[in-house]
């Protein structure tokens, strides 16, 4: 279970730092890397405050990206910035804001489940 997060750099937003740390946590988890070996996806992380971030999964490894690189995303995750930060930092289970309607996801159902499992495996119960 991952507990060490990369310290955020001062030049980037809190959400970007949280997402980078989240990717690092995933990449340190060998089970997750193995599980996502064949799962190649581009996930857009959006907030009503105007945040736009992308996480790319390739060959089992996740990476934060400042732009979509000309690709259409496979999944969109949208929530207020505070919720996104809490979820990706492991302070909040995604199920809670999801069931309140505060966190919306758009994409294939199987991908949605995979994303939930990833957060579960990184942060535990």
């Amino acid at each position: 279970m991952m507990r060490e997060m990369e310290p955020p750099s001062n030049s980037e937003s809190d959400l970007a730092a949280v997402l980078r740390a989240f990717c690092a946590a995933c990449n340190q988890n060998p089970k997750l890397v193995a599980m996502n070996r064949d799962w190649e996806r581009l996930v857009a992380i959006l907030s009503p405050e105007g945040d736009r971030h992308w996480i790319r999964c390739q060959a089992g490894r996740l990476s934060w990206q400042p732009d979509e690189g000309g690709r259409e995303p496979d999944l969109e995750v949208e929530a207020p910035r505070a919720i996104l930060e809490a979820v990706f930092a492991g302070r909040m289970a995604p199920t809670d804001p999801y069931n309140r309607g505060d966190l919306l996801v758009r994409g294939q159902a199987d991908d949605l489940l995979r994303l939930d499992i990833i957060t579960l495996m990184v942060w535990g119960e």
Binding site: A44, E72, D74, N99, R106
Partner: protein, 447 residues
């Protein structure tokens, strides 16, 4: 809110919204529901009862469309009820609502068992049900899902079969013209409308797929088209039953009326074609029911409404315990229903739960229009507050009508539904807090 910028690679078209909605509504037990409608509505008025039920359902579809547009999420009713009525009510409502999946599966098992026993007397129908459930459950456990297009194809084949076969039957056996000024007995007609609601049950289960559609208008449009197709197919089927057996007299005793219609339409080929349609339709009901319900159980377990062990995933990323538990439960219901032949109370209970849920959908639309007036609504339900409330009251009456309909002196649907609500209330009141204790710990901290 979600999805404003850019596009998505994997999105579903309107066609899928139509076929999914129609497919979810097309259960094998609808054949028996159609016969029950024919008995209650004095025969030739049965198709009118189905059409009226369909028109009423359109109002509910309009409500679901507004709610789904506001919150396009697979948690659907859980989210909408939570925002409008609070978390506790949402939990109770979701548990009761989800139980209709098991009721429909049990009823379909009964239809399949009886049809198979009639077609192949040497093989016990219940054995076929058990094998089919086992195979579908095992496939789901390995993460193999029957492809959506197969389910869609089956739904379209079933509805097309009903239209063609029923038309052929009506061609050979025209309906007798109604006597002048003759009409249905009012009480029976409205009970028939209440049971007729069951034929459409499940059309709204397409809303949990809202996340997979780019165009927010696909869900409302898809539901409306699907309702029209289902109404046409089953109204014709009911008319064919009436033509063959006025008042569903002789057919009323049959537990496989669709086989009779198949034989009358196309002889032996029609008979076996209809048998095959019964088998595949029950199969897709089992598959859709298990896949949907197991995911729902997973979500409830993740939020600690159910024991968290039920959210455990196997190596294929499938909630195995939930799936096996649901399979056992569905099989147990099927055994009881096949042994007692009391399928009607499942039909009536399912119709009642759905009618009440449609009434609740009206309440949710009205409440959320007040509580979240500024929230973006890609689709607005038809009518103002009073019109929506009026539809809600009609659904309430239909629900009570379904609960009190049936041949037995004991209103079993009422008993079953009361038991379901009581169990869900008690569980949420006393059971969930114990599970919630785990949740209080800050999520993400080392355990």
């Amino acid at each position: 809110m979600a999805g404003a910028p850019g596009g998505l690679k994997r999105i579903l078209p309107l066609r899928t919204a139509v076929s999914t909605s129609a497919g979810l509504a097309s259960a094998a037990v609808n054949f028996l529901a159609a016969v029950e409608v024919a008995q209650l509505a004095a025969g030739r008025w049965a198709w009118v009862a189905i059409a009226v039920a369909g028109l009423l359902i359109v109002g509910a579809a309009s409500n679901f469309a507004e709610l789904s547009g506001m919150y396009p999420t697979s948690a659907a009713i859980r989210v909408w009820m939570g925002r409008a009525l609070g978390d506790q009510v949402a939990r109770v409502g979701s548990l009761v609502y989800a139980s209709t999946v098991l009721l429909v599966m049990g009823a379909d098992a009964f239809v399949l068992a009886k049809a198979f026993s009639q077609a192949v007397p040497g093989i016990p129908g219940m054995a076929v049900v058990a094998v089919l459930l086992g195979v579908i459950s095992a496939a789901n456990l390995r993460g193999i899902r029957i492809a959506g297009w197969i389910q869609d194809l089956n739904a379209l084949a079933l509805l097309a079969t009903l239209v063609v076969f029923s038309a052929l039957v009506l061609w050979h056996h025209p309906l007798a013209a109604p006597a002048a000024a003759a009409g249905p007995a009012t009480g029976g007609f409205w009970q028939a409308v209440a049971v007729g609601v069951f034929i459409y049950v499940g059309f709204e289960w397409v809303t949990p797929l809202a996340e997979e559609f780019r165009d927010a208008r696909a869900i409302p449009r898809g539901m409306l088209i699907a309702l029209g197709v289902v109404a046409l197919a089953f109204a014709l089927f009911t008319a064919a039953i009436e033509a063959l057996s006025p008042g569903a007299g002789a057919l009323g005793q049959s537990l496989a009326p669709q086989l009779w219609v198949g034989r009358e339409a196309m002889g032996g080929v029609g008979y076996w074609w209809m048998m095959a349609m019964t088998l595949t339709t029950a199969g897709t009901t089992f598959n859709g029911g298990l896949a949907t319900a197991s995911r729902f159980v997973y979500a409830l377990a993740r939020e600690r409404t159910l024991p968290r062990s039920w959210a455990r995933l196997n190596q294929h990323l499938v909630p195995g315990r939930a799936l096996i538990g649901l399979t056992v439960l569905a099989l147990a219901i099927a055994v009881v229903v096949v042994a007692t032949a009391r399928y009607q109370f499942l039909v009536n209970t399912g119709a009642a739960v759905e009618s009440f849920m449609y009434a609740v959908s009206a309440l949710l639309v009205i409440r959320l229009r007040r509580k979240e007036a500024t929230r973006l609504r890609p689709y607005r339900a038809w009518g103002g507050t009073w019109a929506i409330a009026g539809f809600g009251v009609v659904y309430l009456f239909l629900g009570f009508g379904a609960l009190t309909t049936g041949p037995s002196a004991v209103p079993w649907p009422l008993v079953v539904m009361g038991g379901l609500i009581g169990a869900a209330l008690g569980y949420v009141r006393w059971g969930v807090p114990h599970l919630g204790a785990v949740r209080e710990r800050t999520w993400g901290e080392p355990s």
